[in-house]
Symmetry: C2
Subunit: 203 residues, 2 copies
Amino acid sequence: MNEPPVFDEAFARQFEELLRWRRDVRRFRRDPVPADLIARLIAQTQLSPSVGHSQPWRWLAVEEPAQREAAQASFSRCNVAALASYEGERAALYARLKLEGLREAPVQLAVFCDHGTERGHGLGRRTMPEMLDYSVVAAITQFWLAARVHGLGVGWVSILEPAEITAALGASPDWKLIAYLCVGWPEQDCDVPDLVRAGWEQG
Amino acid sequence: MNEPPVFDEAFARQFEELLRWRRDVRRFRRDPVPADLIARLIAQTQLSPSVGHSQPWRWLAVEEPAQREAAQASFSRCNVAALASYEGERAALYARLKLEGLREAPVQLAVFCDHGTERGHGLGRRTMPEMLDYSVVAAITQFWLAARVHGLGVGWVSILEPAEITAALGASPDWKLIAYLCVGWPEQDCDVPDLVRAGWEQG
């Protein structure tokens, strides 16, 4: 066994800065992201906690133009429906929000939970079967922080129809879509969430 | 706006060490954990991502002996049922696993998702309503890492009946139990998961 690390107060402060400056990013520069950096970040998610050590996360890069167009189309349809659910000033405010960077983000990843996996032998999920999905969320959270360590922004797009993404990517029907992620260099770093700056919280 | 931090390669390496040494801890020393450290860690989870900035996490400290006994009883019942679902050598192996530290952990936290919250005004969860629960999982993941920064171990106990915990704590019926966490100083630090060391992965 290796010697455990000791994290000092300076690291604790820097870690809190990391939490403070992680953002849901929707405005990306278009310059490319080195493929080996993305590969390193995805490989690092193997260190995430998972129920029964099942490691059920499955990462698919969304690269084909037709696949990206399917994601944009799904977002557009769902966003029109979402806008229609608001009224008056809130609808006007919603219409002004920029909620995704699907046209700009150079890297896009669909993250699934493999409900067919036998890894873990079912341990820890008899009474809480949702633990399998939660394990994927934990991996995404760690990816998000690790990306920010390297200056990369991540935006989690949930305004879309999971079945449409799954079909467009030809993913196994055993795989449940947990997240569609836009990844790239942010146009700007900020320590205040976009929705707070836009005044979405009020009322 | 403040100046964004730059995370250098030394920080990136330390951050990876943090991911590598975070464990699901089931063996705790019994010495107390300073209350202000737990308060600081829980306060820090306000920096976690949440859908529509809804911040739906609700943290309850489980302190009353009757509440802790209810959690232990729920675990015991569920663990007997889990053991009965395995056969032969796997059952024997399961019986030897230590899967929780409910009798030793000085701090125990139940973490809920408030399905009744109006914060966020429903943004981002029309087509993926599970985003609300996922937001709580993200906060728990960040808590877990932040705890390890300070040398604290966290164990997520999912072998229990959520309804029993919710009732024992008198939590609102709008609140869904996402996690029951044991927190304390680990008996030992290790960079290899317990289940891997125990050979649960094989076969």
